[in-house]
Amino acid sequence: MNKVLLIPTGNEICQGVVLDTNSPALMEIVLEKFPRAAVQRLSPIEDNPAVIYKTIEAHQDWDLMILIGGSGGGKNCDPDLAPDMTHLVLDSLLEEKQEKRIYGYNGHLWSRLLVGKLQKNNWVANVPGPYVEAVAAGRALINAIAQNQDLAAISENVAAAVLAQYPKGGTVA
């Protein structure tokens, strides 16, 4: 793993309303496993599917892209929330992928986690926006990649890590 790109998403991050504490934490996690990696944080991008799409397309030579935020139902489930677009873009872009969807018992999509590869065989994954979930997902992702796990196992481990951040864990439907 030589080049890792962190892509924070969200209008609230772009505007500085919320500070991006996820990227520094994820950078640390990457460097723990891959000390020689070049890790770059992109300037945050808005919750705009076209922008997210173009950003991913423009960085296909990176070994791993981690998109931060935009993984839930967002505004579609709750008008007060941001429009979560990242998972939808990844779904359309990734050629080979695995996904897990975590719902609340109220039926809202809390997190849709995708991991996969683009044409050039590089890894792309998303992590949720809330800090504890982003860190848990990022750590599980990096550990799994470092262990050369396959896509299905990586996906499973990332979802389990996020699920474990809820107070009582979760149960498989």
Partner: protein
């Protein structure tokens, strides 16, 4: 593990309005509020004038009972400024839907998520 997972976590969704936010670290707010009310908290939405959070394992009534204490706690968070009009606008318990209803949902769950504009 199935691809579709339901997290059976009891939560109350709390919205606070009448605040000004710029440069907040949600994890700091989560820690402060959790210490105040004794329950885990997750910030799920932030705008420049409001915030929304999930409070796990505490009923809306219990949250509203000490509204002033909660508002005082969040007013101490760097990046957040409270005012005379700061209030808990809503505190609602998440309502459970049946597994059958959830199973009928499309892959992307929420009806408006049929986004295909690429």
């Amino acid at each position: 593990m199935e691809d579709k997972i339901v997290a059976y976590v009891d939560k109350t969704i709390v919205k606070i309005t009448g605040i000004q936010i710029q440069g907040i670290k949600p994890i700091e707010l989560e820690k402060a509020v959790a210490a105040k009310i004794g329950c885990p908290v997750r910030v799920i939405g932030v705008t420049s004038t409001s915030l929304k959070m999930d409070v796990y394992g505490l009923d809306p009534e219990s949250i509203l009972r000490d509204e002033q204490g909660l508002l005082q706690t969040i007013s101490l968070i760097p990046g957040l400024t409270a005012s005379d009009v700061t209030q808990i606008a809503t505190a609602e318990k998440a309502k459970e839907i049946s597994a059958e209803e959830l199973a009928k949902r499309t892959r992307t769950c929420c009806p408006k998520e049929n986004w295909v504009g690429l």
